[in-house]
Amino acid sequence: MANIQAMCTSFKVELLTGTHAFGTAPTRATTAADSFKAALFLTSATINATTTVYNSTGEVSGTNYTAGGISTGAFNAPTSTSTTAFTQPTASLTFGSSGSPLTLSTAFDCVLIYNSSQGNKAVSVHTFSSQTITAGVFTLTLPTNDSTNALLRIA
């Protein structure tokens, strides 16, 4: 046997469940998972690693798009494979529908995932090739929920 220094994999998973607090933590009224939302941003916006909270500046606007975006729905229970913890929403993110078609005339290329239960604090930024939507639907299908592809991974 030998001792090997490491960041414990269980700790990485527990970061995703809010188990540890090294600083002052928000008071939680429940042990349930927080609610998260996804908002789309224009190519001209400045959303990146320094983004701390959702703000409508630079967000898309158009028919059948509500500022703040859509709920992501539930996330998969955080887990780990090897030494990587990971999670992501359980379902694709769909903006608009055939009954409520979306029109976003100005190009956008970014989705911000944020925590609507905790003051809209930012979680992650994901970019893609710029798009516009005309009386249609915009769907974001997530990668495979595993240690090498999931939307949120702590390696």
Binding site: K12, H126, F128, A135, G136, T139, T141, P143, L152, I154
Partner: protein, 61 residues
């Protein structure tokens, strides 16, 4: 029937254009419908393939 800026329209009346962007990070399929040289419908489906991970590190004493 296709949802358009002019309401539901018969697909037969429209000109359809499709395209794909496929690279290491994403696969995007889009479809457009045109009527008299006017874009009346555009939808896009983005498949995110892989996101960068958040790295963790620790220090030695």
């Amino acid at each position: 029937m296709i949802t358009t800026t002019k309401g539901l329209m018969d697909e037969a009346l429209l000109k359809k254009r499709e395209g794909v962007i496929d690279n290491d990070d994403e696969y995007i399929a889009w479809v457009e419908y045109w009527h008299d040289n006017e874009l009346v419908h555009r939808s896009a489906h983005v498949i995110l393939k892989k996101m960068p991970s958040m790295g963790g590190s620790i220090a030695s004493f």
